[in-house]
C-alpha cells in the first residue's frame, strides 16, 4: 500500500545552516534558563551546609529562639539567642507596613483610577526612580536627615531606631507595593466600574465597594511582597537602627535586625567557628521566612486567576 501523500511528507534533509543556528540558540536559551535554577539551588546548598553544622552540633533550640542574648564573642560562655533581633525585625516590619500600605495603596488608587495622561506617566516615572535609589543611600538619608529630624521633632534622645528604620523601609518598599497594587487595580475589568456607576455610585463609591474588594487578592500579595522587601533589607537597616541588641519597647528604641547582624559580623568571624556557623543558621531562618512569604504571595495571586 502506498499512500500518495507519504512521499510529500518525507522531508528533505532539514539540517542546513539555519537548523544548526536554531538548535544552537535553543540550547543556549535552555542553559540560561536552568542557570537561574542552578544558582538558587547552589546558594541554598551552600547556606545550608554552613549553617547545618551549627544546627546539629552547637545549637540549643530554646536558647536560639527564646533568648534575647546574642553574645557570640563572650569568652566565658558564648550565647546565641536571636529573640531580640527577631523582635526588632518584626516590630520594624510591622510599623513599616503600617506606614507603607495605606500610602502605597492610596497612590495606586490615584494612579490607576484618577490620574490621566501626563500626570500619570510622570508619577509612574517618579515611583520607578524611587525604586532605583541604592540602599546605602537610604542609609545615608537615615543617618544624616531622619536622625536629627526625629530628635528635633519628638525630643527623642536618639534618632536611630525603630521609627527611623520603619520610615526608611516604608519608602523603600513603597515603589514595589504601589506598582503591584496598581496592577491589581488595572486587572479589575472596567465593566465593574461602569456597572456600579450606572447604578448611581460615584467614582469613589465604585472604588470602595467594588474595585477594592475585587482587587483584594492582588493587594494582599502586593503587601506580602512589601513585607518580604522590608524583611530582607540590610544596609539601610544597619545604618538606621542603632544596631544595639535589645527588645524594643518604644518606636524610638534602638534595635538590631537579623540581616544587619549577618552583614556586620560575618567578615570578622573565623570560617567554620561556631559564631560563623550561627550566622549561617540565621541565614537559613531568614531564607525560610522569605520563602514562605513569597510562596504565600504567589499562592494568593494564583487564587485570583482561578476566580
Amino acid at each position: 500500500m502506498t499512500d500518495p501523500r507519504s512521499d510529500r511528507r518525507r522531508p528533505a534533509d532539514a539540517r542546513d545552516r539555519h537548523w544548526y543556528i536554531d538548535k544552537f540558540f535553543e540550547i543556549l536559551m535552555f542553559l540560561c534558563g536552568i542557570s537561574a535554577i542552578l544558582f538558587v539551588v547552589g546558594i541554598f546548598l551552600f547556606v545550608f551546609r554552613e549553617g547545618l553544622g551549627f544546627i546539629l552540633q552547637d545549637m540549643n533550640f530554646s536558647e536560639f529562639f527564646f533568648s534575647p542574648k546574642w553574645r557570640p564573642t563572650s569568652l566565658v560562655r558564648p550565647t546565641y539567642g536571636i529573640l531580640a533581633m527577631v523582635a526588632g525585625t518584626a516590630a520594624v516590619t510591622v510599623l513599616a507596613m503600617a506606614i507603607c500600605l495605606p500610602v502605597s495603596i492610596g497612590a495606586a488608587i490615584y494612579i490607576a483610577e484618577f490620574a490621566k495622561g501626563r500626570t500619570r506617566e510622570t508619577l509612574k516615572i517618579l515611583i520607578e526612580f524611587l525604586a532605583a535609589i541604592p540602599s546605602v543611600v537610604w542609609g545615608f538619608i537615615a543617618l544624616s536627615i531622619m536622625n536629627p529630624l526625629i530628635i528635633d521633632l519628638f525630643d527623642a534622645p536618639m534618632g536611630l531606631g525603630v521609627l527611623n528604620s520603619a520610615l526608611i523601609l516604608a519608602l523603600m518598599a513603597a515603589p514595589i507595593v504601589t506598582s503591584l497594587a496598581e496592577d491589581a487595580f488595572k486587572a479589575v475589568p472596567d465593566t465593574y466600574r461602569e456597572a456600579a456607576e450606572a447604578l448611581g455610585a460615584t467614582r469613589w463609591q465604585a472604588i470602595r465597594q467594588v474595585v477594592l474588594p475585587a482587587a483584594r487578592n492582588g493587594l494582599l500579595s502586593a503587601g506580602l511582597l512589601g513585607v518580604g522587601r522590608a524583611f530582607g533589607e540590610t544596609m539601610a537597616i544597619l545604618m538606621s537602627s542603632g544596631h544595639s541588641i535589645n527588645i524594643p519597647t518604644s518606636i524610638f528604641d534602638s534595635f538590631r535586625a537579623l540581616t544587619a547582624t549577618i552583614a556586620a559580623e560575618l567578615g570578622e568571624t573565623a570560617v567554620g567557628s561556631p559564631h560563623y556557623r550561627a550566622l549561617f543558621a540565621i541565614g537559613i531562618f531568614l531564607f525560610l521566612i522569605t520563602f514562605l512569604i513569597n510562596m504565600a504571595a504567589d499562592f494568593i495571586v494564583r487564587g485570583v486567576r482561578k476566580g
Binding site: T191, E194, G200, A201
Partner: protein, 269 residues
C-alpha cells in the same frame, strides 16, 4: 424627518419620558451623533434599530450620561428626562441614574454576592443615614428576584458570588433585578439578549414585556423580529441620525423612508 409622532388614540399626549433636541455628540474629533430629535413616550417600549456603528449605543448611553466616563466625549444639545434637563449644572449623575437604569449588552453583575448585587443600587440611594435592617433587605431582595423570575433558582445561594456559577441568562435577569429596588422610571437596554441563547432570549424578552406597564423602556436591538414582537414604537437610525420614528407596526409595514425599508428587508446592515 422624525417629526413629532401623533398618537392615534384621542387622549391628550402625556409628557414624554425622554425628550432629545438637537443633540450632537463627538468622541474626540469623531462625530457619532448628528442633530438628534426624539421623544420617547412614557410607559411604552421603544426599540432602537439600525446597522452596526450607527450610534444606537452612543445615544442610549447619553441618556444616563454614562458616556461621560470616557473623558473625551463632547456634546451639544439637550436631553430632558421628564422635563428636567439632564445636563443642567445642578443635576448630579447619581440622581439621574436613580431615575434612569441601564442594562448592558454583556451581563455585568458585580463581583459580590447575589444579594449585595440586588441591594447595591438601593444602598447607594437610600442608605444615607443608617444601615438597612436585615429583614427589610431580605424583603427587597426577594421581591426584586421574584419580579425577574429568578427567585426560585437562586434563593438558596444568595450569598454566593454573582459572577460565578450563574448562566448568562440568570446574570442578565439579575442585572435587571438590581435596577428594580432603585425604582427608576426609565430603563435603557443595550441589546440585552445578544449574549444569550434563543431560550434565554425568549425568557428575558418575556420579562421585558412584563415590565412594560411600570417603566418606560428604550431598548437597542439588532434583531428585527425582536423589535417587531416586543416593542410599541420603533426608531430607525442610520449613520448617527434618526431616520424614522413610528409605531412598530407602521414602521415595519409601511415605512416612510427608503432607507428604513431597505434595512428592515435586510438589504444592508
Amino acid at each position: 424627518m422624525s417629526g413629532p409622532f401623533l398618537s392615534s388614540s384621542g387622549a391628550p399626549p402625556p409628557e414624554p419620558a425622554i425628550r432629545i433636541r438637537e443633540f450632537n455628540l463627538w468622541y474626540g474629533t469623531f462625530q457619532a451623533l448628528f442633530d438628534i430629535n426624539l421623544e420617547i413616550k412614557n410607559g411604552l417600549i421603544t426599540s432602537l434599530i439600525g446597522p452596526s456603528g450607527c450610534g444606537k449605543s452612543t445615544l442610549l448611553r447619553s441618556v444616563d450620561r454614562i458616556n461621560e466616563r470616557l473623558g473625551y466625549v463632547r456634546i451639544r444639545g439637550s436631553i430632558e428626562v421628564f422635563g428636567q434637563e439632564i445636563h443642567a449644572p445642578q443635576v448630579e449623575p447619581a440622581q439621574l441614574r436613580k431615575q434612569v437604569g441601564m442594562v448592558f449588552q454583556r451581563p455585568n453583575p458585580l463581583p459580590i454576592s447575589i444579594r449585595d448585587n440586588v441591594l447595591f443600587g438601593y444602598r447607594i440611594h437610600h442608605e444615607k443615614g443608617g444601615r438597612l435592617a436585615r429583614s427589610e433587605a431580605d424583603g427587597i431582595v426577594e421581591e426584586a428576584l421574584r419580579q425577574v423570575l429568578l427567585w426560585d433558582q437562586v434563593k438558596d445561594r444568595l450569598d454566593h458570588k454573582a459572577t460565578d456559577g450563574l448562566s448568562l441568562e440568570a446574570m442578565q435577569k439579575l442585572c435587571i433585578a438590581r435596577l428594580l429596588p432603585v425604582k427608576p422610571s426609565i430603563l435603557l437596554m443595550d441589546e440585552p439578549c445578544s449574549a444569550l441563547d434563543p431560550r434565554g432570549t425568549a425568557a428575558v424578552e418575556e420579562l421585558i414585556w412584563e415590565l412594560r406597564d411600570r417603566y418606560s423602556i428604550l431598548i437597542v436591538t439588532h434583531n428585527m423580529a425582536q423589535a417587531r414582537r416586543a416593542s410599541d414604537e420603533c426608531v430607525f437610525m442610520l449613520m448617527g441620525r434618526v431616520v424614522e420614528h413610528a409605531p412598530t407596526d407602521q414602521l415595519f409595514v409601511t415605512p416612510a423612508h427608503r432607507e428604513t425599508a431597505d434595512y428592515i428587508e435586510g438589504r444592508f446592515g
